[in-house]
Amino acid sequence: MSSVKRQKQRKVLLMGKSGAGKSSMRSIVFSNYVAKDVRRLAATIDVEHSNIKFMGNLTLNLWDCGGQDGFVENYLTHQRSHVFSSVAVLIFVFDIESREPHTDVVNYSNIIRALQEWSPSAKVFCLIHKMDLVQASRRAQTFEERTEYIRSASEGFRDTVEFYPTSIWDQSLYKAWTQVIYFLIPNASTIENLLEMLAEVIDARELILYERTTCLMVTHVTRGVEASNPYIDRFERISSILKTHKQSLAKHTGIPAGSANFAELQIKTGRFMFFITRLTENTNLAVTIPPSEHVFNAARVNIALARPRFADLDIGNRKRPVDADS
C-alpha cells in the first residue's frame, strides 16, 4: 500500500448541451450558490476549470465545458487530445425537457467515442437533469425510458455507465455527486477503517464524514440498530440540509458562504444525540449516538484525540501549486 499518495489530480469533464444545467450544478455544489441564484449564470465560454481539494489525497480538477455547438466542435477536433486525455470521470448532463433529445444523444455518442479513444478506462456518469420539471408521478418512468435510450448509445461504456436523476431543487444533486466523489477517492477503505475504529470507541450509531465546502459525503459508518434506519436517502439529505444552512448563516452574518462554518452544532433529544464537529482541515464529522450525556461528552473527547490520525490522510494541510491548464 505504498501508492496512497500517488494519484493527486483527477480530471473530471462536465459536458452536455448548452443550458442543460452544468454550470448551475457546479456553482451549487462547489461555489456555494443557492438554487435560485443560478438564473444569473451566463453561458460558459469554452472551458472553465476549478480545483477542489478533497479528503484522502484527492484533488478534483473539474472542467466545465461550455456546451454551445461551436465549442463542442472544437473539443472534438482541434482540442481532442487535450480535452479527452487522462480523464478519470466524464459527467454528461442531459436536460430532461430538451426539445431535441435525439440530437443530444447523437452529440453524446460523439463525445463517448472521443473518450473511448483517449481515456478508455474513464468512468461515465450520466445525469438526467431538471427532473423537477417532470410531474412527480411520471418521474420514475420518464427516467427509466431516457436511461435505456442513452445506454444504447454508450458504446464501450455501455455496461459501466451510471445514471442519476437530478435537480438543483432537491437533494438528488447531492446523491449523484456523492457517487462521483466516492468513485474518485483513492484511499476510501483506509478512511473507512479508521472511522470504524472510532465509531467503536465512542459507541456511535452512525458517523458521517463529509467535505466542508461542498458538504458532500466522503464516507460513513453505520452500526447496530441504526442499520435499520428507514431514511435511506439520509446522507444526501444531510448534505443538502447542511449546505442550505451554511448559506443561511452566511447571509445572516455577512460572512462569505465559503467560510461561514459553525464550530459545532449539537442536537439533543430523548431519542438520540447528534453533533457535528471539525475533523480535519477539509472535513467535518457528523456523529449520532444514543441519548446519553456521558456518551456525548466521551465522544467529543475521543474525537479530539483521533484528529491527528485523520489529518495524515488529508492533503489540505500541504500547499501545492495548482496545475495551470488552458
Binding site: K36, D132, Q135, A136, W169, D170, D203, R205, E206, G224, V225, S228, N229, P230, Y231, R234, R237, I238, I241, L242, T244, H245, S248, L249, K251, H252, T253, I255, S259, A260, N261, F262, A263, E264, L265, Q266, I267, K268, T269, G270, R271, F272, M273, F274, T288, I289, P290, P291, S292, E293, H294, V295
Partner: protein
C-alpha cells in the same frame, strides 16, 4: 374579551380566509405554508371551484379557507354569516405581476361590505408574487396598490381602514413572515407572550428571541426589539435543520434492541431531557450562536445570541428558559 380561541361561536375556531382573483396564488400559498408543498410544485395546482377548508391543529386550532375567486354576494345561497365570523382574518391576495385594477375593486367592495356586517374582522392584503419584480418596480407597485386601496376607501367615506399590506412570495420567507403577523393578530395572549420574551432576552442578553410554531414555521411571538426579515429567516432555516435531523435519527426503534444498546452504552436515561434542544457555535464569531429549545408539542423557542451572551452562561440560559417555559405553559394551558 370576545376573541378567545377555542371558545364558542360557530365551531369556535379562528379562521383565515384566503380571497382574491383567479390565479392570484391563494391555493399555492395555502399549500406551501400549511402542506409543505415545494413552491415549484404549485405550477400544477388546479383552479379552486369550491371552498377548500384546512384545519390546523397547533398551539391554537385554526382553519384556513381557500375561497374560489368569484363569490357572488348577491346569490342568496351565499351566506356571509357562514363564512365570516368575528374571530377571523381576511387575507386578500393580489397578483403583483398581473393587472390589479379589478382585484382592487373587488377588494374594496368586500371591505366595505364587511365593515357593516363584521367590523372587527382583521384584513390583510398580500401583494403577491413579488419575486418576479425588480427591486424598484416592486416598491412602486406596492405603493401604488396601497395608495389605490386607501384612496378608494377614503372616497367611500371610510378613512383609516384597518388594513395591513404585505409583500409576499412563496419562493422565499416573506409568505411565512406575513402569515405570522396576521396570525399574531388573532392571539389574544400576544402581549403576555411578548412580555415573557422580553424578560428572557433581558436576563440572558439574548439578541432576538422567537416563539415558533414548529410545523408551520409561523412565529407566534417575538420580543419587542425591532424585527427584520433576516433574523426570522435564520431562525426559520435553523428549525429546518433541527426538524430534518430529528426526523432522520428520531425514527421509532425496536424497543428491545434500543434497550440492549442502552445497556452497553451505559447510562441511557441520564439525559432526562425529552424536549429537543440544539445549539450552534460559530467558528469566526466564537460567541455568536443560535439556540433552540422545544417548549411543548407545538412550540419552540429560538434565540439569536449576541456577542456578549457567552456559551459559558449556558446554565443561566437553561434556568431562565425553564422559567419561561413554565410561564408559557400557564398561558397556553392545554
Amino acid at each position: 374579551t370576545g376573541k378567545i380561541p377555542n371558545t364558542k361561536t360557530g365551531d369556535g375556531k379562528p379562521r383565515l380566509l384566503l380571497m382574491g382573483q383567479r390565479r392570484s396564488g391563494k391555493s399555492s400559498i395555502s399549500s406551501v405554508v400549511f402542506n409543505k408543498l415545494a413552491p415549484s410544485e404549485t405550477l400544477y395546482l388546479e383552479t379552486t371551484h369550491r371552498i377548500h377548508k384546512e384545519s390546523m391543529h397547533s398551539f391554537m386550532d385554526f382553519q384556513v379557507w381557500d375561497l374560489p375567486a368569484h363569490i357572488d354576494y348577491s346569490d342568496p345561497a351565499f351566506d356571509t354569516e357562514d363564512i365570516f365570523s368575528d374571530i377571523s382574518a381576511l387575507i386578500w391576495v393580489i397578483d403583483a405581476q398581473d393587472e390589479y385594477y379589478d382585484a382592487i375593486q373587488r377588494l374594496n367592495t368586500t371591505i366595505l361590505r364587511l365593515q357593516e356586517s363584521h367590523p372587527s374582522i382583521i384584513i390583510a392584503v398580500f401583494v403577491h408574487k413579488v419575486d418576479g419584480l425588480s427591486e424598484d418596480y416592486r416598491t412602486d407597485t406596492f405603493r401604488d396598490i396601497v395608495q389605490r386601496v386607501q384612496d378608494e376607501l377614503c372616497d367611500a367615506g371610510f378613512e383609516n381602514a384597518p388594513v395591513n399590506f404585505y409583500q409576499t412570495s412563496i419562493y422565499d420567507h416573506s409568505i411565512f413572515e406575513a402569515f405570522s403577523k396576521v396570525i399574531q393578530k388573532l392571539i389574544p395572549e400576544l402581549p403576555s407572550l411578548e412580555a415573557l420574551l422580553d424578560a428572557l432576552c433581558a436576563s440572558c442578553r439574548i439578541e432576538k428571541a422567537y416563539l415558533f410554531d414548529v410545523l408551520s414555521k409561523i412565529y407566534v411571538a417575538t420580543d419587542t426589539s425591532p424585527t427584520d426579515i433576516g433574523s426570522y429567516e435564520i431562525c426559520s432555516d435553523y428549525i429546518d435543520v433541527v426538524v430534518d435531523i430529528s426526523e432522520i435519527y428520531g425514527w421509532e426503534r425496536d424497543e428491545a434492541e434500543a434497550a440492549a444498546e442502552a445497556d452497553d452504552g451505559g447510562a441511557v436515561g441520564d439525559s432526562g431531557n425529552k424536549d429537543a434542544e440544539s445549539l450552534i457555535t460559530m467558528e469566526k464569531h466564537g460567541n455568536n450562536y443560535l439556540y433552540l429549545r422545544e417548549i411543548n408539542k407545538y412550540l419552540a423557542l429560538i434565540c439569536i445570541m449576541g456577542e456578549d451572551s457567552a456559551t459559558e452562561r449556558k446554565a443561566l440560559i437553561d434556568y431562565n428558559v425553564r422559567v419561561f417555559q413554565e410561564a408559557l405553559n400557564r398561558v397556553f394551558s392545554r
